[in-house]
């Protein structure tokens, strides 16, 4: 089975196989191009030699023969190189964890643990919302209390006002002064009665 080397791809930004393929194609292109150049140079040289009996076809055959050999060797050598590079250079050993994946080592949460954590967060959010609205209810009651206190203090002030009025008119303690008034009125009645008798 082909190792996709996905982890290496995460690190390098490309899969090692892609990298090797790119190098392989480039090398192969160069080889082919070079051989074409060699052939064209030789043919040009032959043009300068009118008496040579070598045909272009022969040169093409020679080119193909050399290229075929080179291509075989190239493939062999390249696959060896690829094997070594993929193993020693472009691979991440199994026990190595990339820095950006430290979280997976630090937080190996199972699905249940993850859901439990989510549940806990949801619960905290609910709780916070409840506390927030409780706070609002408490502040609302404080406002209400202010209004009620103001009303009750007004009532008391009214009582104070009433008693101030009495005091201002000489009736400090109403009960005593009323008793005093009652006594005086009784005396007055007695005196009145007396006067009437004497006048008869």
């Amino acid at each position: 089975s082909v190792n996709p080397m996905a982890y290496e791809a995460q690190f390098f930004g490309f899969t090692p196989q892609t990298c090797m393929l790119r190098i392989y194609i480039a090398f192969q292109d160069y080889l082919f191009e070079m051989m074409l150049v060699v052939e064209s140079v030789i043919l040009k040289k032959l043009d300068g030699l009118p008496n040579s009996k070598i045909s272009a076809f022969q040169i093409r055959k020679s080119t193909e023969k050399f290229l075929l050999f080179m291509k075989e060797r190239f493939d062999q050598l390249f696959s060896k190189m690829e094997e070594v590079l993929l193993q020693l250079v472009l691979s991440i050993p199994p026990k190595v964890l990339l820095p950006e994946d430290k979280v997976h080592e630090q937080y190996p949460y199972s699905k249940e643990q993850f859901q439990a954590l989510q549940g806990e967060i949801h619960q905290l959010q609910q709780q916070y919302r409840a506390e927030a609205s409780a706070g609002q209810a408490l502040r609302a009651e404080l406002e209400e209390q202010k209004a009620v206190q103001a009303e009750l203090e007004k009532v008391l002030q009214w009582f104070d006002g009433l008693e101030n009025i009495c005091r201002e008119h000489g009736t400090g303690n109403f009960k005593e002064s009323f008793a005093f008034l009652t006594q005086n009125s009784k005396k007055l009645q007695d005196v009145l009665k007396d006067v009437e008798e004497k006048s008869r």
Binding site: A130, E131, A134, A137, E144, V148, L152, S185
Partner: protein, 47 residues
Amino acid sequence: LPSLPTSQAHVLSTKPNYQQILAEQGEVWSCMELVLDELHQAVKLLQ
């Protein structure tokens, strides 16, 4: 009120009825009105 129990649930659930408290003041006024009326009558009588 919040649907979930909160840390101050016992305070929230014992909130007095402030409207009723204010309403009770009406009774104080009518009582005082009565007292002052009586007083007024008494003073008139004395006079």
